[in-house]
Amino acid sequence: MSEKTLSERTSNNAYNSQPLLETRGVSKRFGAVQALMRVDFEVYPGEVIALVGDNGAGKSTLIKGIAGIYGFDEGEVLFEGKRVHIHSPREASALGIEVVYQDLALADNLDVVSNMFLGREWTEDTSIGASLNARRRGLARIFRNLLPMREVSMEKQAVSTLNELAVTTLGSVRLPVASLSGGQRQSIAIAKAVLWNSRVVILDEPTAALGVAQTRQVLNLVRRLAEKDLGVVVISHNLHDIFEVADRITVLRLGQKVQTYLTQETNQAEVVHAITAGQLNAIPGMEQ
């Protein structure tokens, strides 16, 4: 019902193009707990969509399913209109889906460039295109990992990506990540995701541990990703941040989708109500 209204509302703008990423009726059960129940969710190019909900609403479950950390029990995932099966984070990145986790997943002991290229270092035998696309196997990959790295090219690419995203507060890209501020670390983690020609970037609580100025930096960065025509998913508890950065807001409650709102046409009170008391299609535990 609500879906229909949404498509009517959005029929005159970008949302009638094909979604970059779409889940159709995905469910996930952990033992007795129905973590997700027939959730439809779509991400369009050039938009920031927020995923909100209380603890246990199923936000993380949905994201982890998309990222290939575990599979959905039912339903399907479509990427650029084609049905895909994602079995591991590596397969997700190969498609162009990158997740920036809450704890950032950076190696503190390595510098900025090393972190951005971790696991995909450029070596003497690889042209830039080859290292992005070719996934080498077995012994060939082990051999490639023993060739000298192209530090200068990697550093140039890292600097140019950071500049493109206007991440300019770094003193040097050769500083260990441990010496950077929370906002800078978050920016590096996001830039790392962008470096690999990703189409969809999923950010898990990107501003959770940040101060005011740093939050601003990161929110600006999130907007710039959408301007580069990426699909951006932001998970957050901070409605203030979400209203500032998101184009649409999808509310999950008890593993089900309540509704997707256009940010311009809703307000915090309505979203809070949906999070805490939104209408559900089925009452958990009461379905047949």
Partner: protein, 353 residues
């Protein structure tokens, strides 16, 4: 906008602090090297025979053994592991090389005994070392057992196999037999090149190769990443299990190399060779500034650490310090090194935040 500028200013302030602390941290980072120079100067002044070329060569020969084991150990420790089995692998590989030279490879099903050329013997021995390291790595990564436990078990298994190889007896006089075309094994231990024993050259070559691997290749970078944050490495697409396994293979290979060198130097293989070598290797790694939790350390540091232990032992022997006291002093030096390491960590954290 103002807040952006404020944030930038804060960052610049951080940079300034960073630079001011650099000299202090540099001195701390070079501490093993400074200690080495001090020890060297001390023994040079107080002992007439310490600086004799003959003594320095003997010293470096002893250091080479420990440094080679330490280099393999550094890879393992950088990736957050530990390898307690290296001493036993030294013993087992020595017994395998000795057995192949003296008894050949007995193939009962064909009723023949095959004797190999010395080069082939060494190759087989190195492969055996790598296989044991591979077994360590596979058990640790695929069955999720703590490295300490797996390699402790392997310490017993490899030592037991070394003893079983010849029922606890040695293989003496490994000179080979011209009739079997397998002579020349002792050359590895006694031969020299530009006046320096082969073992020293092997240490130099393996050291350079290891420096290249750790600093210049994706493999080395990934080893550091795993030690720093294993989950981050995994999520970045690093094949964490494979990389960790390879570190144990390298350690096994280094141990086999040491087994060959010692066996060749003694021209006989004894099953108890290498007992407690793993502890000397770990001591060299720690003295060299490598963190036992992984992610931080260098190959150069380990080699310096091995030299510190070597110079200390050599100097004390020349000075006639009781060997019991030598053991005590070595232990104290190791503990002090770790304490200084902790202080350095605190210093660095303070300079950052």
């Amino acid at each position: 906008m103002t807040s952006d500028i404020a944030a930038q200013r804060a960052d610049h302030k951080q940079d300034g602090l960073h630079q001011r602390a650099t000299l202090k941290t540099l001195l701390f980072q070079l501490r093993a090297f400074i200690v080495l120079i001090l020890l060297f100067a001390f023994f040079s002044v107080y002992s007439d025979s310490f600086l004799q070329p003959g003594n320095l060569i003997i010293l470096t020969k002893q250091v080479a053994i420990n440094a080679l084991l330490g280099i393999g150990m550094t890879f393992v420790i950088l990736a957050g592991g530990i390898d307690l089995s290296v001493g036993s692998i030294v013993g087992l590989c020595g017994m395998i090389a000795g057995g192949l030279i003296n008894e050949g490879l007995v193939l009962p099903m064909f009723g023949v005994v095959v004797y190999f050329n010395v080069w082939i013997v060494m190759l087989i021995t190195l492969v055996v070392g790598m296989i044991i390291g591979f077994a360590n790595g596979i058990i640790i990564t695929r069955f999720n057992v703590a490295p300490f436990i797996v390699t402790l078990g392997m310490l017993y298994v490899a030592r037991g196999l070394a003893l079983l190889r010849n029922n606890g007896a040695t293989f003496p006089n490994l000179v080979g037999d011209p009739a079997l075309a397998n002579t020349g094994f002792p050359t590895l231990g006694t031969g020299t090149f530009i006046g320096l024993p082969f073992s020293i050259w092997i240490m130099v070559a393996v050291g350079l190769l290891a420096v290249f691997l750790t600093l210049k290749t994706p493999f080395g970078r990934q080893v550091y990443a795993i030690g720093g944050n294993e989950r981050a490495a995994l999520l970045s697409g690093v094949r964490v299990k494979n990389v960790k396994t390879i570190t144990y293979v390298i350690s096994g290979l280094c141990s086999a190399l040491v087994g060959l060198i010692i066996t060749s130097q003694l021209v006989s293989s004894h099953p108890a060779t290498g007992t407690s070598f793993e502890l000397n290797a770990i001591a060299a790694v720690v003295l060299g500034g490598t963190s036992l939790v992984g992610g931080r350390g260098t190959i150069g540091g380990t080699i310096i650490g091995a030299f510190v232990i070597g110079v200390l032992n050599n100097g004390m022997i020349i000075e006639g310090v009781s060997s019991f006291w030598q053991t005590v002093i070595t232990g104290v030096v190791i503990i002090v090194a770790v304490i200084i390491d902790q202080i350095q960590q605190k210093l660095q954290e303070r300079s950052v935040s």
